[in-house]
């Protein structure tokens, strides 16, 4: 291939890549529903893991450092899931559901942050209340996942 032609191809490829990279993903309803389902399920799993660690910490069955690392991991993972899901452009018909999912993910993330803060500060008196809230939030997320009726719903 001649050099100018290769350069032109490269320029077109780069332009296309940069143009599409700025475009948010636009899934159809089915794909959006599956993505929402996975986002909610993954966050529910993070809540469950945080709950399990907190209960063990309450009973003095895990080291503080271990609990701290576990909760930071859960918090970071939930944050990544929320960011990834929030970056998607939902189909218009799913506007309300998108809002509901984003709100659920956001409040779950806030609760994980509060749990991590309490554990880092070794604020033991807050543990029972947080454990109860983690369970409630996880149940709410599981109900939401069922309502969404995604891949495994």
């Amino acid at each position: 291939m001649h050099r100018p032609a290769s350069l032109l191809l490269l320029a077109v490829a780069l332009t296309l890549a940069s143009a599409t990279a700025c475009e948010p993903a636009q899934p159809d309803h089915e794909d959006w529903r599956d993505d929402a389902y996975y986002a909610v399920s993954d966050t529910s799993s993070d809540m469950a893991a945080a709950y399990a660690v907190l209960r063990q910490l309450e009973r003095d069955r895990v080291m503080g450092n271990f609990a701290q690392v576990s909760l930071v991991t859960a918090e970071e993972h939930a944050g990544k899931v929320a960011d990834r899901f929030g970056a998607e452009q939902q189909p218009e018909a799913d506007d309300a559901r998108q809002h509901r999912v984003e709100e659920a993910l956001s409040s779950a993330g806030d609760l994980l942050t509060a749990t991590r803060e309490a554990v880092v500060r070794r604020n033991r008196s807050a543990y029972p209340g947080l454990a109860s809230r983690l369970t409630q939030t996880r149940r709410a997320l599981d109900r939401l996942a069922t309502d969404l009726g995604g891949v495994r719903g």
Binding site: Q68, S70, D142
Partner: protein, 409 residues
Amino acid sequence: MKKYIQVALGILTAIGGFVDIGDLVTNAQVGARFGTSLVWSTLVGLVGICLFAEMSGRVAAVSGRATFDLVRERLGPRFGMLNLVGSMLVTLLTYIAEIGGVALSLELVSSVQHVLIVPFVALVVWLVLWRAKFNLIENAFGILGLALIVFAVAVWQLAPDWGSLAHQAATAAKPHDELWSTYWYYAVALFGAAMTPYEVFFFSSGGVEEKWSTEDIGVMRANVFIGFPLGGLLSIAIVAAAWLTLGPLGVSVGSLDQVGLPVAVAMGKIGLAIVIVGFFAATFGAACETGLSVGYSISQYLGTQWGKFVRPDKATFFHLVVGLSTVIAAGVLLTGVDPIKVTEVSVVFSAVALPLTYFPILVVANDPDYMGEHVNGPVANALGTVMLVLVLVASIAAIPLMIWTGMGR
């Protein structure tokens, strides 16, 4: 007496060294979601790794040469190169995952972000590979890896319904809320984790390092046929512990702390401390094995001096490859990539590369010119051929399943 001690040590090392980051993560993920319904895949993988490790060990003992050394000679430079590239890339990926695993283990006790620990781990691994004796690398971490037996103790402590666990394993019953595509994806991942290519490179090259002869074939077989299956039991214990504790909570394992959580639930702080020691030993030992395996494979293909039995100044290329691989591994991990994700990818690509690793071993072990009277018998050939078909199916299915299921979501 010395012989018995040697056999016992070899078996203990084989048990403790059997589990690596891929086994830890994949078994815990599968256990939490599928219970014991996929144990059959681990068992099939176990039969495969025993079969081919024995063949490669026998080749090393009879010929005094390791796998890659013979592949190029027996199958020609083109196939040798294909074999080298495929297997070496997977081993490098596994090396990255293992170094990440060591850093994650240390993060659990220090609460220092694992990315900050990676350069330190890479430096120590490289120093060990450069300076430590082969026996020390193999035995010390293998023995320390026995700490992972704590998973079996944890299962016992959790007092499960053994009948239910056995029934689920025997019927291979998929939980109703999981998809068949995901079930098969994890079946292939478990198979890939059990039969990781580096295990046979390390085993056969280790045989050459330790100057095995035909007299050592009995000891080698005891290590493989007793040590590996007992090591496989550890994998099954991880599955059961995860199912009993994480399954009911709905935790999908995505981090190393969650792999260890079942032990904490069952045994508290002491169990947790032991399991973290086990994580460290298993990943550090496997990091050393994979690091050496990258050096072994390239050096053996190119026909340069290799191994720990040669002085470093006589095997400069080998040590250069090991050092460079360590720098690449650290560099990849310093980008902030999640070591658990690297592990998940590495076990799938292990499955893809399996035929490239195991087909040549079967060919060489059948060649009377190399093997003389120790050539494969009909049973080894029949089992080897069946296993090769399974390996081929897993290899073809691995990437489509990975894409189809979004890496087992």
